[in-house]
């Protein structure tokens, strides 16, 4: 795919984030969509392409009254929306549609109109993982951590510092759920969830949503907001069973999606002004920094512990506070994309001065899937 031919011209989150007891999951999709439509200065009838995950495209399109000629229901977990951006860009370039709306919403906390996740007993996960006491992401996602730590000499303190630094970013963000400063000691003394991870190393559980609108870069000039161009994209999947990853020393899906996006964008790591790495749990930024090639894995923990990703430092990372402190409805990828777009528009609460290139890297499932988008505000 060619760089900078497609642009984000509308982007918005739900009116509220956090605990939203007065709206169903479907209505949260609509709230995010209507906010994005208003942001782009469009009407719903202008939308001819639609993508979403978990909820079906037919459900959300009918609820909103959209009549699409292109749909994508790719649902590979929290990075589904990175894949939607990639697929939508290809579809617009191929002439299948002109203006694509991507929605995410999840009543992750209030569980209103949300199907509970279930693992059938005759699925491979149901046969070969569920019987051993896995029960939700906190019991599964950290399973690779101890091996990763041993291989690369990563310490508990370094993994705790991920949460500390992201809280510094969250403190600058009025919409962040958790804003009070924390220390490494606070993290290491918080309640044990699944050793080696404690409460403050696990993502929040919240309600919310977000939506993006994409169109061709040539049309993007006519929209009210500063266009944010799609410079490069990548995607992959590995396995739905964390126990069956090729290795716990890296993520194959990360190592496929990330470099694809960098290559397509034609950028080097030193060109990256702003970085989002989906942080459902505290180890993900370390995997991301290594798998995307920013540095050797051995250096990732110390890099964050030394403050290199804090406000004002050389590699601003997870500048909304991340899934650990901003919000995490269950499929956080959309919120990472929203923050990249805000940074490229120059309107983020914790704005990185003069940021021109933003890399947004997502995970789906427990390292099951990955999507990476490189954004730029220059064409």
């Amino acid at each position: 795919m060619r760089s900078n031919q497609i642009a984000v011209v509308g982007a918005a989150e739900t009116t509220e984030l956090g605990v939203i007891p007065n709206a169903s999951q479907l209505q949260l999709h609509a709230d995010a969509a209507l906010n994005a439509i208003a942001d782009a200065g469009l009407k719903l009838s202008d939308i001819d392409g639609f993508a979403t995950a978990v909820e079906t495209p037919q459900q959300v399109c009918h609820y909103l009254g959209i009549k699409p000629t292109w749909v994508d229901g790719t649902s590979v977990g929290g990075c589904s929306f990175m894949l939607h951006v990639r697929h939508a860009a290809a579809a617009i370039e191929a002439g299948l549609c002109k203006t694509v709306l991507i929605t995410h919403a999840e009543s992750g906390k209030s569980m209103i109109g949300k199907q509970p996740r279930s693992t059938p007993a005759d699925s491979l996960n149901g046969q070969f993982e569920a019987p051993y006491g896995v029960y939700g992401p906190p019991s599964m996602f950290p399973i690779p951590v101890l091996r990763f730590m041993k291989t690369y000499g990563i310490t508990h303190e370094q993994l705790a510092s991920v949460a500390v630094v992201q809280r510094e970013w969250a403190a600058k963000n009025p919409r962040a759920m958790m804003k009070d400063p924390i220390t490494v000691a606070d993290v290491l003394n918080s309640r044990m969830i699944a050793y080696p991870f404690r409460l403050l190393q696990c993502c929040l559980v919240t309600d919310g949503g977000g939506a993006l609108i994409l169109t061709s870069a040539d049309r993007a000039r006519d929209f009210p907001r500063k266009p944010v161009y799609i410079m490069g994209t990548g995607e992959s999947v590995e396995t739905p069973m964390v126990s069956q990853m090729e290795t716990f020393n890296s993520s194959r899906a990360f190592k496929t999606a990330g470099p694809l996006a960098f290559k397509e964008a034609g950028i080097a790591h030193g060109d990256v002004d702003h970085l989002m790495i989906y942080d459902a749990f505290a180890h993900l930024p370390l995997f991301g920094l290594g798998d995307l090639g920013f540095m050797p894995y051995e250096e990732t923990g110390q890099f964050i512990a030394d403050g290199n990703t804090r406000p004002g430092a050389k590699l601003p990372l997870n500048t909304n506070g991340g899934g650990l402190s901003y919000m995490h409805s269950g499929m956080y990828g959309m919120y990472a994309l929203q923050e990249s777009v805000r940074q490229m528009r120059g309107i983020a609460p914790a704005q990185v001065p003069n940021a021109k290139i933003s890399v947004c890297h997502g995970v789906g499932g427990m390292f099951a899937a990955s999507g990476t988008i490189v954004f730029t505000n220059e064409r």
């Binding site: 005759d122 046969q127 019987p131 006491g133 019991s139 050793y195 964390v242 126990s243």
Partner: protein, 137 residues
């Protein structure tokens, strides 16, 4: 010991031989007749070379502790926290999720790379789970 609420596997045609094996006290893996790749979980073809000529064999039951968590909360039905959820690397190559028995469920006792051997835990008349314990050698 019966743990009535613990998640119970339901075999499919492709995995029945594995569960027949554990019931008989064997850990069964599959090997590709064409390229010799040993793999898990079960399927009637080789995920490395796509050959449908594969054989079932009894694995040694030996391996080592590749990684784990000690789950505190939320606990799965049928489990009393804290309990370790482990990934074992078998001597034949494949890895599988399991539990570690006859071992304190602590970071001190659960050392990465410790040698393990398979044991079998009957959940009911049909399903026996392979679990692992520290090797006696």
């Amino acid at each position: 010991m019966a743990e009535p609420q613990r998640a119970r596997p339901k075999p499919t045609p492709e995995t029945q031989h594995f569960w027949d094996g554990t019931k008989a006290g064997e850990l069964r893996l599959q090997r590709c007749d064409a390229c010799a790749h040993v793999y898990f979980p079960p399927r009637p073809f080789c995920p490395s070379c796509a050959s449908r000529k594969v054989s079932i064999f009894k694995a040694s039951g030996k391996g080592f502790l590749y990684s784990y968590v000690i789950n505190h909360r939320p606990a799965a039905p049928g489990f009393t926290p804290p309990y370790a959820i482990a990934v074992v690397e078998l001597d034949e190559g494949p890895r599988m999720m399991s539990n570690i028995i006859d071992c304190p469920q602590t970071p001190e006792a659960l050392e990465l790379d410790m040698k393990l051997e398979v044991a079998f835990q009957a959940l009911d008349d049909n399903i026996t789970l392979p679990v692992f314990r520290p090797a006696k050698r």
